[in-house]
């Protein structure tokens, strides 16, 4: 029993893509709010340098999924991230190991300056005595010149797009191995959405893995390598993003005319 168990763990990655063990490996994740189950047994994997997207309707449990992986919610099941195995662990430890989350509400420090917000993103690195965060700060300013212009302004005075840039920049200051983003395009103009999605491709080139939760399925499937469709607390389907983008069920439910209309409304 034990033997076959370890064998299957070794076999699985070989069977899937023939690369090393996944950076994030979630198995049978369940989350309940009181008696209501928000996630009913979810399996998900993210490999190094991969963009994985989770699409699905409102209330499917997308935000819950990210919160549970981040350790913000009590959950049941197995989560492996970068060699640590946990079930609802301390957020601080995960951040230190290179997990970053840009939440849907951004959660910026609105009465502090843009630069302070960014510097605090490197708090764990500073605590460990890693001084190279000044370099990361310069990189982020060159990636988002708008943040450089407004570095002495309070974060609360920024526009929606700039806030999103700041939230992403702040998470990047921690040098995450895996960056999770919850609805990064929500409430943004299409032009800014495009700019932000272009940055995800840049990040992947630098070796950062991304787990992207999106309602804007069209944009998400275009940038992602692999995709999951979350419906009613479980994955209805998953596969390479390009395949899903051509799947008739996905086109009908998320990419069809109805969703295009919704997309226009939200942008």
């Amino acid at each position: 029993m034990n033997m076959s168990n370890t064998a299957s763990i070794h076999e699985e990655p070989v069977a899937m893509t023939a690369s090393a063990a996944p950076l994030l490996d979630v198995k049978g994740l369940r989350v309940a709010y009181g008696k209501v189950e928000a996630l009913t047994g979810v399996d998900l994997q993210v490999r190094e340098g991969q963009i994985v997207t989770v699409i699905g309707p409102n209330g499917a449990g997308k935000t819950t999924l990210l919160s549970a992986i981040m350790g913000l919610l009590p959950s049941r099941g197995d989560i492996h991230f970068d060699d640590i195995h946990y079930i609802s662990p301390e957020v601080e430890i995960l951040v230190g190991r290179g997990l970053g989350l840009v939440p849907e509400k951004r959660e910026l420090f609105s009465t502090m300056t843009v630069e302070d917000n960014l510097l605090l993103g490197a708090f764990q690195r500073y605590r460990r005595g890693d001084d190279s965060f000044e370099i990361t700060l310069a990189e982020i300013y060159s990636l988002f010149p708008r943040l450089w212009e407004r570095r002495h302004q309070q974060a609360g005075t920024l526009s929606g797009g700039e806030r999103q840039m700041l939230a992403i920049g702040r998470a990047m200051m921690g040098k995450p191995k895996l960056l999770m983003l919850d609805e990064p395009s929500l409430g943004l103009a299409p032009l800014i959405t495009r700019e932000i999605f272009r940055i995800f491709a840049d990040l992947r080139r630098q070796g950062v893995a991304i787990l992207l939760v999106e309602q804007n399925a069209r944009a998400a499937l275009k940038v992602a390598d692999y995709a999951y469709v979350l419906e009613g607390g479980q994955f209805a389907m998953h596969g390479p993003a390009a395949d899903l983008a051509n799947d008739s069920r996905v086109i009908d439910a998320y990419l069809g005319l109805a969703s295009k209309h919704q997309e226009l409304l939200s942008s």
Binding site: M70, L72, E90, V91, E92, V95, G96, G100, L101, P103, R106, E107, L108, F109, S110, T111, M112, D116, L119, L120, G121, F123, Q124, Y126, R170, A171, G174
Partner: protein, 345 residues
């Protein structure tokens, strides 16, 4: 009232006001970062003053045993948390250091002839003994319910205050105590003599306030505490742990409280239960600042000190009533000008 009396009262008012300002700032700091209204702050003041007095009188410092006992409970909790997890050497070393520190304090308190050492060292020792009580208090009484409703936190805070007053009676006895002044010389300024203790109080208060300001504006640790106050969830997502923030703010509050106690011990006779009324006046200052604004709270607290001094002259029986009635117009003004914010997350 002539000018001389007015100047004298003003001097007293500013001295007390500076202390209230320090207390108002620590109440604000603890409240914004942890949502706890730190009622036991006054006990840090009395414990500081009475420990200093005990040291100077050459009596045994009983408090050190409380420090050792609480440290051992804290260590036991740490170890229990470790059981069943992988052993973390860094945390274990931290626990050992904490126990070692408490034992060292016990040894110093029981072997060194404390009454004979210079006063600066006596004050330093008082700080070394009492400041760890801040983080210990957070760890033992507040950390287990950090996510509770702020009303629950307030109730626990009151309970801790009541317990501390009892412990104070046990450790220091019912007699009041006063300590020796830091220095004897005064400064003659025209018609009035500036008492030396007044100068000490104002100097140290200003120094502490400036240090706090620099910490919160310039260092990443200070900014991390501010960030926790502004957005708890955001701070957690960056790995700023609420436990770290809680312990750090309680340590700062303990430092400020104990320093205030040492500063006022030569000018006021303090009893084991005097702390509450002192911190309450700091609280009035904090209310004037709306439990948000640090500068307004500090100015408000100095005003409380001045009003107290002058009402002592005109209507000394109503001194406390006048000071605490002050809160009503400010509450009215605050509730009319400020818009409603969500009171809990």
């Amino acid at each position: 009232m002539n000018l001389q009396i007015a100047l004298l009262l003003g001097q007293d008012g500013i001295t007390n006001g500076a202390i209230y300002a320090l207390l108002a700032l620590s109440i604000l700091l603890v409240f914004t970062v942890t949502r706890i209204l730190l009622i036991p702050l006054g006990e840090f003041v009395t414990f500081g003053a009475l420990t200093m007095a005990t040291i100077q009188s050459g009596k045994p410092v009983l408090f050190v045993w409380l420090l050792l006992a609480l440290t051992l409970v804290d260590a036991a909790l740490d170890i229990r948390q470790q059981v069943g997890q992988r052993f973390d050497m860094a945390r274990l070393r931290m626990t050992a250091i904490k126990i070692g520190y408490a034992v060292l304090m016990v040894v110093i308190a029981n072997t060194v002839p404390l009454a004979d050492i210079p006063m600066a060292f006596q004050a330093l020792l008082t700080l070394c003994l009492l400041v760890p009580l801040g983080p210990l208090m957070y760890r033992l009484f507040f950390q287990p319910l950090a996510d509770a409703h702020s009303l629950v936190l307030l109730i626990v805070s009151i309970a801790v205050h009541v317990a501390m007053v009892g412990v104070g009676l046990l450790l220091f006895g019912p007699e009041g105590a006063r300590t020796l002044p830091f220095s004897d010389t005064g400064l003659h300024l025209g018609p009035v003599m500036l008492k030396s203790q007044t100068i000490w109080v104002i100097l140290v208060s200003v120094l502490l306030i400036v240090t706090l300001f620099v910490t919160f504006e310039r260092t990443l640790y200070g900014k991390a505490l501010r960030a926790t106050a502004v957005n708890r969830v955001g701070a957690r997502l960056l790995g700023i742990s609420p436990v770290f923030a809680g312990k750090a703010t309680f340590a700062l509050a303990a430092l400020i409280g104990v320093s205030s106690g040492i500063l006022i011990a030569p000018i006021t006779t303090l009893y084991f239960d005097s702390g509450f009324i002192i911190s309450l006046k700091g609280f009035v200052g904090a209310i004037i600042g709306g439990l948000i604004s640090y500068p307004v709270a500090a100015v408000g607290a100095v005003a409380v000190g001045l009003i107290e001094a002058f009402s002592m002259f005109w209507a000394s029986t109503y001194k406390e009533i006048i000071v605490f009635t002050l809160i009503i117009p400010f509450l009215l003004w605050r509730s009319m000008t400020s818009h409603h914010v969500e009171d809990d997350e």
